[in-house]
Amino acid sequence: MTATPAPKEASKATRQRPGSDPTEDAQPIMRRVKTKLTSKWATAAAIVIAVVWSVPTFGLFVTSFRPAAKQVGPRSNGWWNAFVDWDFTFKNYTDVLTPAGSQSANLSQYFVNSIAIVIPVTIFVLVLASMAAYVFAWGKFKGRDALFIFVFALQIIPLQMALIPLLQFFTQTLHLPAGSYAQLWIAHTMFGLPLGIFLLHNFISEIPGEVIEAARVDGAGHSTIFWRIILPLSVPALASLAIFQFLWVWNDLLVALVFSGGTADVAPITQRLAEISGTRGARDYLNPAAAFVSIIIPLLVFFGLQRYFVRGLLSGGLKG
């Protein structure tokens, strides 16, 4: 995105340089000074926003390493005091992660649950959504466009509307066992499909038709075209959808509350976090460490794959 305007500007500059006389040059300099000055204020404003946006998370990070007595109780004080009164500990993290003890947050089990939920869901959504998106983009059947717009509209059904009937369907019709991942996998996949199909469709429909025609002439069937041509060419869009889906499912609370049953066997880390932060008590000092454990994976995924995330978002309908 950034690369396109830059060369244009450069070529313009080189074009102007030869024949230009000094008087013409003076004006752009003035203008440049002027824009520099205004941009100084803009930069200052930007830095203020950046600081305001980062301080809350930074505060959590610092708090999570502060000893219990400094966090709760009469001798506690604000996290910023940690820098004056240098006192940090790893104990909060070891407490939060060890499975022993009934009072313990026991996050490690829930952490594993989150991973066990999010990986299959991401794969299911990617495969099923790309198959549907391929048919919507390159298949020929009656009512294709109307159906696609219908799928797009499904994106907007509030999950709240789906929960009660779906729960009844899972337990009464399908008899899915409570306390297994199955309900969460299926529910998350269902809810992820409309957006997935929409994002991938926009990317897949822009693959040049000649590529697909050429493969057909060579005798390739739809499944070959799909696995050998469409999927490899769609990697940027697939990557962004994968990150999207990953963050969404990892961070979900609503679906988890309804379908997990809330046990340490199935419930994800967000649910446990909501539980322990909802009850005010003597072990409140563990909340920041627990929160940080829960956001570390999404932050890693996010910072590691940020570039694909943004690129994929933009390849979709979002370019407007």
Binding site: G59, Q160, A274, I295
Partner: protein, 321 residues
């Protein structure tokens, strides 16, 4: 660590079953007789997603719509749930809050995101500055709730404050404030959390759109003597109109469904509830699925105009193709 084994096994089995289903579909598509091959392909590729969406979204949406007209024991009660919603003071507060959320969050996130995108455009360290504001996108609403408790924390007057905001109030000689308990402004303090999360999304999309505005246009405006504000107003804004619409609608929809922030920070108490949270409370805590469904239906009706608008834009785009 023995608990990991059983969980891993479940995951492996699920993936194996899934792979088998997809494998069978591909086999059927490839082996289909030539005369019906195209139709079988469409059906096979579409069927899994279609079935899941029908069962998971379409059928529940219809069920919920009918459920909205029943009482706690499942008997039809006409419009009673809706009468309850539009007459009970608590339910009315919930509706009012939802309207405030859906007006303020998209407006504020988009303005901040746009301002920030313009300010940091071509600035030094643009990538780092972008990451800082985009980061909250990766944090769960539950995590955000805990993070913001540190900002809003309250202790009685005369004691050293532990919340960032009350620390500043203290320093300025003001009394500490119970940010999350004092209605009605506590709703605004919850809204700030959502704005904090959504601004990064708006910023990233708008920043990319700004970079897509042709340099020649900006240059021409500048040569015509337009100042920075005029350039922004007359060239940049029209150039990114499409992206602005997308950002506004996406954030509006996300805001209408917002649930976790309210749930974790106030649980909807102190007059802060919103429709999405109230729906959960009624249906799963208070044993009133009819009321919950009615709230969900109202939520859907609130989103409907946005769907219609977007579907229209989409149809136009497809006609051009």
């Amino acid at each position: 660590m023995e608990f990991i084994g059983g969980k891993l096994l479940q995951v492996v089995i699920a993936l194996a079953i899934f792979a088998a289903v997809i494998g069978i579909i591909m086999l059927v598509v490839d082996r289909a007789p030539k005369s019906v091959k195209d139709r079988v392909t469409v059906a096979g590729f579409l069927a899994p997603a279609a079935i899941l969406m029908l069962v998971g979204l379409v059928y529940p949406a219809i069920r919920t719509s009918t459920l909205a007209f029943t009482d706690a024991s499942g008997n039809g009660n006409g419009f009673d749930n809706f009468v309850w919603m539009f007459t009970q003071p608590e339910a009315l507060t919930t509706l009012r809050n939802t309207v405030i959320w859906t007006v303020l969050v998209p407006l504020l996130s988009t303005s901040f995101g746009l301002a920030y995108a313009v300010f940091i455009d071509k600035a030094r360290g643009e990538k780092v500055l972008k990451s800082l504001v985009f980061m909250p996108m990766a944090i769960s609403f539950v995590g955000a709730g805990i993070i913001w408790k540190l900002v809003y924390d309250y202790r009685g007057p005369g004691i050293e404050q532990t919340g960032v905001l009350n620390f500043f109030r203290d320093a300025l000689g003001m009394d500490p404030k119970q940010f999350l308990l004092d209605a009605p402004e506590n709703t605004f303090f919850l809204i700030i959390v959502m704005v904090w999360i959504q601004t990064g999304f708006a910023m990233v999309i708008l920043s990319a759109a700004i970079k897509g505005v042709p340099v020649e246009l900006v240059e021409a405006a500048r040569l015509d003597g337009a100042n920075a504000w005029q350039q922004f107003r007359n060239v940049t804004i029209p150039g990114i109109r499409g992206a602005l619409v997308v950002v506004l609608t996406t954030i509006t929809i996300a805001t209408l469904k917002v649930f976790d922030i309210v749930r974790t920070m106030t649980a909807g108490n102190y007059d802060t509830s919103v429709v999405a949270n109230e729906m959960y409370t009624q249906a799963f805590r208070a044993g009133e699925p009819g009321r919950g469904a009615a709230l969900a239906l109202v939520l859907f009706l609130m989103v409907l105009p946005i769907v219609v608008y977007n579907a229209r834009v989409l149809r136009k785009q497809r006609e051009i193709h």
